[in-house]
């Protein structure tokens, strides 16, 4: 019975994915530089498969409550159903507390995706602002700002995160997003700064400045649109990165806290007995790999679409 429900649910999610895909295809037909990039992206077969997959994962995350066959946090039967390998009733098995792993995985998608999206949103905002200011102002301010970035990049991100968790202890989801976001913007700011330095010398901006446009106006109207493509690519690739990072932290027990399920802490729940409970690490891990891969494929495809390298004759 649950299997049937599950199949229906998958079909539903796939239908949503297909509908979104159709709207998307229509977007590409529009003109302008973004329309061209979109239509180029749509011709990238791998990118489109990845996109469909992501839409599917997102639909699963959004409709998790209706899709999950069981309550992710309910211990079904601690005596009869604990640590069961995959079966028809529990396709991905159960954990040591007899909770259904598939249901936890589906709800985990919500948490893992939301944390990654919000954290990346925060870090690209901060990174873009910082990089744009440094690049636009230039000179000594820029030099100081960039040395700080060098220093921040010299500390491995994982060590900073571990230090923060060591000092603050376990944190709420909101704090986790904040911490991940605020430790991830350094390289984005560097990219943006480089782009701004280049844009600053371009005719349009020079002309705008000659006409006496105000700094804020130049930044908003001329420079920020120019860095959008760089930022979009960095963000797409960054999401995959943060999903991996959050999974790692949750695996170490300092990320998303029990009983809330995230892909990382499901693996952590099974890590005490890897050999005996392989399904606890295999399925969430596959979910992570496939999702991150999809983000990376789209990131690469976007980069190619926005910045086509001409193939030079000879």
């Amino acid at each position: 019975m649950t299997v049937v429900l599950w199949l229906v649910a998958i079909a539903l999610a796939a239908a949503v994915a297909a509908a979104v895909g159709r709207v998307w295809a229509r977007l590409g037909a529009g003109g302008g530089p973004w329309g061209t990039a979109l239509s180029r992206l749509q011709r990238n077969a791998g990118g489109m498969v990845a996109l469909r997959f992501l839409i599917f994962v997102a639909s699963v995350a959004i409709f998790a409550r209706w899709l999950a066959p069981f309550d992710p946090n309910v211990q079904l039967d601690i005596i009869a159903l604990a640590s069961r390998p995959p079966s028809l009733a529990h396709p991905f098995g159960t954990d040591i507390y007899s909770r259904d792993v598939l249901s936890r995985l589906v709800h985990g998608a919500r948490i893992s995706l939301a944390v990654a999206l919000l954290a990346v949103l925060l870090s690209i905002t901060v990174g873009t602002a910082y990089g744009a200011i440094a690049g636009y102002l230039g000179g000594r301010v820029d030099a100081v700002m960039m040395r700080v970035i060098d220093a921040m990049l010299s500390i491995p991100r994982i060590l900073v995160l571990l230090a923060i968790f060591a000092l603050w202890g376990r944190v709420s989801l909101g704090a986790l997003v904040l911490i991940l976001g605020l430790t991830g913007w350094f390289s984005t700011s560097r990219l943006v700064r480089a782009q701004v330095l280049q844009l600053k010398t371009e005719e349009m901006v020079v002309a705008a400045r000659a006409l006496g446009a105000r700094h804020r106006r130049i930044l908003w109207r001329h420079i920020l649109p120019g860095v959008t493509s760089t930022v979009v690519v960095a963000a797409t690739l960054g999401i995959g990165n943060v999903i991996i990072l959050e999974a790692g932290l949750s695996f170490l027990g300092v990320g998303v806290q029990a009983p809330t399920a995230s892909w990382g802490n499901i693996i952590a729940d099974g890590s005490s007995n890897v050999a005996g409970m392989w399904w606890m690490s295999l399925f969430p891990g596959l979910a992570i790999v496939l999702t991150v891969m999809a983000f990376n494929i789209i990131g690469d495809a976007l980069r190619d679409a926005l910045d086509p390298r001409e193939i030079q004759p000879a």
């Binding site: 040395r147 700080v148 060098d150 220093a151 921040m152 990049l153 010299s154 500390i155 491995p156 991100r157 994982i158 060590l159 900073v160 571990l162 230090a163 923060i164 968790f165 060591a166 000092l167 603050w168 202890g169 995959g240 991996i244 999974a247 790692g248 695996f251 170490l252 300092v254 990382g264 693996i267 890590s271 890897v274 050999a275 392989w278 690490s281 295999l282 891990g285 992570i288 790999v289 991150v292 891969m293 983000f295 990376n296 494929i297 390298r309 030079q312 000879a314």
Partner: protein
Amino acid sequence: MRALVARRLLQAAVIVAIAATTAFLLVQLAPGDPLGDLIENPRVPPEVRERLRARWGLDRPMHEQYALYLRNLARGDLGWSFSQGRPVGEAIAAALPNTLLLMSVALIGAFVLGVAAGVIRAGRRGSVADRALGAGTLVFYSMPDFWLAIMAMLVFAYWIPVFPTSGMTTAVVYDYLSPLGKVIDRLRHLVLPATTLVLLLAAIIARYQRAAFLDVATQDFVRTARAKGLPERAVLWRHVLRNALLPVITLLGLALPMLVGGAVFIEQVFAWPGIGRLAVAAIAARDHSLVMAIVVMGSVLVTLGSLLADLLYAVADPRLRLHAPTHA
């Protein structure tokens, strides 16, 4: 060349100082006491607590503490680790060689593998080999370090038990092995953690190397090499690769932070007694001084790595090694 070294050393010192200050500020901003569990433990008498605070200068104003911290750091005094029951420096010194062993094996393996994969992909762009390697690269690039480690352990230590699951040596038995047996035992323990790290890092390098290679492959001197009648092999492996390796040297500096991150997880999974494992243990114990020391040390390691990369680059690129045109 000497000026370059001096300038880069100064930059490195500034970077480490900023990183150390950040670490200090983090501790100051954090809730709770830097002495952590020790202070909060109700069984520790108040006078002992006060004596400890005075001993570590925690009763002084912040700027004095900062000065003290920097002075101690410069002297190499990293403080006392409460969880380890020994000086922080000692705990780190015991763990560091193990991590360095793992990291250097991984670094060498990953560069060889990553560069080869990148060159093969770029040299035969669009071929089956390019696509297969591209897919493999992408998969490993998208994989969490700890998960690959778990899967490697599951397959090669449990299902097909060819390698040991954890540690650096086989407990008890190790002491009775012959010298050669000891080496073999250590190597067997090294295989899984090192391979895991190699695959993850090689994926990053291969992605980068392919792009660098394609970049160089369109340059004029490559056409010249072909026009000379050189075989394609010589064109790619000699003329293109020598130039495409230059940006990869820079990657060496960028790879170190990732390597440190990877080491944290892989040491944790395989119970490898290195810095990463020490760091995770320090968090669990909320041992502030040990955590901060590891952060600063990580930064020093990475800064030294990128310094080394810069110098290597200067040696490898004659345009930097020798100065601009000397003859009109």
